[in-house]
């Protein structure tokens, strides 16, 4: 059973979202997602200043067996890509909800509310339905 912190919100495509005190949000992939991918060997994060649309592929996580896109849960402007992942992609495996964050976004007005994010309980059901 994978770790699903109660204080975060989630997407059906296995991203997590944390709202920071300054109103920006931090985004990463869930413990379930990192486990399914296996050992990550490369992570590509977006450049600060890039504007992304809801559902747009904006990061890539590559493991020894697959490469997957990570989607923006809502539109906004990228304020940071995690600079540590270029040299230490395995951080996403070891600490997916902490040091392994992928990007920070300044959400467009009203974008979060419209995104239909899931609670931890609902995301756990999504995982269960997928046999995870």
């Amino acid at each position: 059973m994978s770790n699903v912190p109660a204080e975060l919100r989630y997407t059906r495509s296995h991203e997590w979202v944390r709202t920071l005190t300054d109103g920006t949000v931090e985004i990463g992939i869930t413990d379930h997602a990192q486990h399914a991918l296996g050992d990550l060997v490369f992570v590509e994060v977006p450049e600060a200043g890039r504007t992304v649309a809801s559902g747009e592929a904006c990061a890539v996580v590559e493991s020894v067996k697959a490469a997957s896109d990570v989607y923006a849960p809502f539109g906004g402007e990228v304020t940071a890509g995690n600079p540590k992942l270029a040299d230490a992609p395995e951080t996403v495996n070891s600490d997916p909800y902490g040091e392994g964050w992928l990007m920070r976004l300044k959400p467009a007005a009203g974008a979060i509310a419209a995104a239909g994010l899931l609670s931890a309980a609902d995301y756990t059901k999504v995982q269960d339905a997928e046999g995870g």
């Binding site: 490369f42 590509e44 450049e47 592929a57 590559e62 697959a66 490469a67 896109d69």
Partner: protein
């Protein structure tokens, strides 16, 4: 191992398993209007005897002219061992194998090729090869747009001293993917791209600058100044190089302060015969930091579970069988047979042999230009150093002169009128180590006679 993949019974069993009635049903999502019903213009099949005869007749049409034609494909001596080894059954396939790791010998050969090409170009990593120099240049432009993440313009500056076919192929392959190619003028006195021609772009977002060395005219560009100009403005540098010349010239990995970002070229000079224009092969190299944006296959050396050395295809998440539509390219093979020949050629020649070939070609080309420009009505187009080609200006149209030379069994070079009309009657000539003093004298005497006859007429 049998290489007959599926019997009709196999196909029927597979269709039954997935619940499809026919193979055509799997393609139903492609609209009928986009489907090709039948191939027009394809002649009926020929059997082995017929195709053998046709090819012999076509080959005979080439004859055995004395060739001074370069312009991207070069006649060099190929040691007999190169193709004797290349055509052994163990190597004789045009393809990277699909069950790649079962073919350790092929993978090792590609690995050695990559190592040699990386050393020759002074770059950190090479792929398993591309189709040819022109498509490698187009792929390099596409790669630069992915790799240069600071640039948003997808704008590629292309000197007109880059091979005209390479420019045309780059536009054909990449302009529909949003790339913009902008041509830089050359200095008509020197035949190179002056740094001053770049100044109008100084404040612009430029993704990459292409630099061919030696350029299409055989002239040596000021690669250090051009490279540093591009890097100072956040643009990447794509080097297009002749591999033979690298035995003498500074490799792209050492251009300017930081070196080129991508280096590509036509591999034909390395042991591949001219063969009426192909097949040839391209090569591509880059820095390690950009390797995930590189197209094509890459072979790596590793250890197996028992700790033994082995070779494997690596970094495959770039490729279309994993990455699908977001792959770095739709190239999923390499020019296996030609790369085998090139690897054997480089092994036999060694660094010293390649250097002698390059130096002899340079010397022959100088002798040729000196001899021809002593003729009335012939002069050099450009001042400054050349590698093994140069442009001559004639006092009359080039095409009839080349026709008269061809009648004497001499391919006199390339008429530049269709490509560079502003030069007037201009002829691109090449001499490599294959040309003897007697050959050069035969060309000089024939050209003199042809020009004199034309003048008298």
């Amino acid at each position: 191992m049998a290489f007959i993949p599926h019997t009709p019974a196999d196909v029927a069993a597979m269709l039954a398993t997935i619940g499809a009635r026919s193979i055509d049903e799997l393609f139903e999502e492609i609209p009928p209007t986009l489907r090709v019903k039948s191939l027009a213009g394809v002649p009926p099949e020929l059997n082995e005897m017929e195709i053998g005869r046709l090819m012999s007749e076509r080959a005979a049409l080439d004859g055995t002219p004395l060739s001074f034609l370069g312009a991207g494909a070069y006649e060099h001596h190929i040691p007999a061992a190169v193709w004797a080894i290349t055509t052994r059954g163990e190597f004789y396939s045009a393809y990277t194998p699909y069950q790649a790791e079962a073919s350790q010998g092929t993978l090792q050969m590609i690995y050695e090729f990559q190592t040699m090409i990386a050393r020759l170009t002074g770059m950190q990593v090479a792929n398993a090869s591309m189709y040819d120099g022109a498509s490698a240049t187009a792929e390099a432009a596409l790669m630069a747009v992915r790799a240069n993440r600071k640039s948003k313009s997808a704008r590629i500056l292309v000197p007109t001293t880059l091979h005209p076919h390479y420019r045309a192929v780059a536009v054909a392959m990449a302009s529909n993917q949003g790339l913009r190619f902008e041509e830089l003028p050359y200095c008509t006195a020197e035949g190179i791209t002056p740094a001053a021609s770049l100044e109008k772009y100084a404040a612009d977002d430029v993704t990459a600058l292409v630099i061919q060395q030696p350029n299409f005219f055989g002239r040596l560009e000021d690669v250090d100044a051009l490279t540093d100009w591009a890097h100072a403005r956040g643009a990447h540098v794509i080097a297009v190089v002749n591999p033979t010349s690298l035995a003498l010239l500074k490799p792209p990995g050492e251009w300017g302060e930081h070196g080129a970002d991508i280096a590509v070229g036509e591999g034909q000079p390395l042991g591949v015969p001219l063969s009426s224009g192909g097949p040839y092969f391209g090569f591509m190299t880059t820095r390690m930091e950009h390797v995930r944006q590189m197209p094509g296959r890459i072979v790596g050396r590793t250890l197996d579970a028992a700790g033994r050395e082995g070779f494997t295809l690596t970094l495959q998440a770039r490729e279309q069988h994993i990455r699908r539509a977001k792959a770095t390219s739709n190239i999923c093979t390499n020019q296996g047979l030609l790369v085998t020949a090139a690897t054997i050629y480089m092994s036999l020649m060694g660094a010293e042999g390649l250097k002698r070939t390059a130096a002899a070609s340079h010397a022959r080309s100088r002798e040729l230009a000196a001899a021809l420009t002593r003729l009335p009505g012939v002069r050099s187009a450009f001042t400054g150093p050349h590698f093994h080609e140069s442009v001559l200006l004639l006092d009359r149209p080039v095409a009839p002169v080349l026709g008269a030379l061809a009648a004497r069994g001499i391919l006199g070079g390339l008429d530049l009128a269709p490509y560079y009309p502003e030069l007037g009657p201009a002829l691109l000539v090449c001499a490599t180590e294959t040309k003897s003093s007697a050959d050069l004298e035969r060309y000089r005497a024939s050209l003199g006679e042809v020009m004199q006859t034309a003048r008298a007429a």
